[in-house]
Amino acid sequence: MDTSSSVAPPRSGKTLHRFANPGQFLRLSGKVLPWLFWSGGIVTTIGLVWGLVFAPDDWQQGDTVRIMYVHVPFAWLASAGYFSLAVCSVLSLIWRHPLADLAAVEIGPVGAGFTAVCLATGSLWGKPTWGAWWVWDARLTSVFVLFLLYLGHIALVRAFDDPTRGYRAGAILALVGVVNLPIIKFSVDWWNTLHQPASIGLTGAPTIAASMLWPLLFSAIGFTLLFAAITVARTRAAVMERRIRGLLMAKASSANEERAVS
């Protein structure tokens, strides 16, 4: 029996660990980060100004449709952020990817913040359109559950003295919570909801006018770039903070050894 093949990590695992090198991540993220921040800021500004000033009113909803240019990108990013949290959890649980744990910890608060914005802007859209700030309909409730899942993840990863146990528990919660993503997506099809069905899909042509679709796409791409920039910056800070903790502990232990010798 060839023992070397059973000991060596799988090829995909090797590649992942090469990219998980903190030094390499710091070098790469240092180069990418300014581009992400600036391009995100510029594209978002174009999308928001286009949607707020130049896009037409909706024939039925009037000017309240302008809230769509902020609400929809945040709704997409709330789900996409949770999906990225789940991907980090898989990388953490299966390949023990060292950066995946840190990235998951940093994605949590940003995802929760973006989900809160989705809920708040939805509420601001609902009041003039439906006449209510909040209704317990399937779409709104499932997004609220997503917000609670984010909060649960934030609390769980920080609940243990040993951070590794917190990362493992958070990863399991993130993977269990993934079941909520298709519920959010298909809630408007499965149940009779007050929330409108999707106007843009991956398979069919969009049912939204091009004059509204373009500013929405700009806004969505811009906010996505900003989400990525914030997450990369936070993960970068977390990597450096971990290195600082390690260096300080090494310094303290060597000082203790010197004291013991003298």
């Binding site: 000017d63 003039p128 900003l226 914030i230 450096m240 600082i244």
Partner: protein, 53 residues
């Protein structure tokens, strides 16, 4: 615009929250960079002193 307060409030929240996260992240990165540089300097100094003795 008849619903301007709702529209403006939504935009303020949507711009404000990412801005807060972005500024907080940049401050965290800068603070970590400064602390790391300070530790590197003190380590280098300690190494030189040890070599001298």
């Amino acid at each position: 615009m008849t619903h301007l307060p709702y529209i403006l409030a939504a935009h303020v929240i949507a711009v404000g929250v990412p801005l807060f996260f972005g500024v907080e992240a940049l401050f965290r990165v800068r603070s970590a960079q400064r602390r790391l540089a300070a530790i590197d300097v003190s380590r280098e100094r300690g190494r030189r002193e040890r070599n001298r003795t």
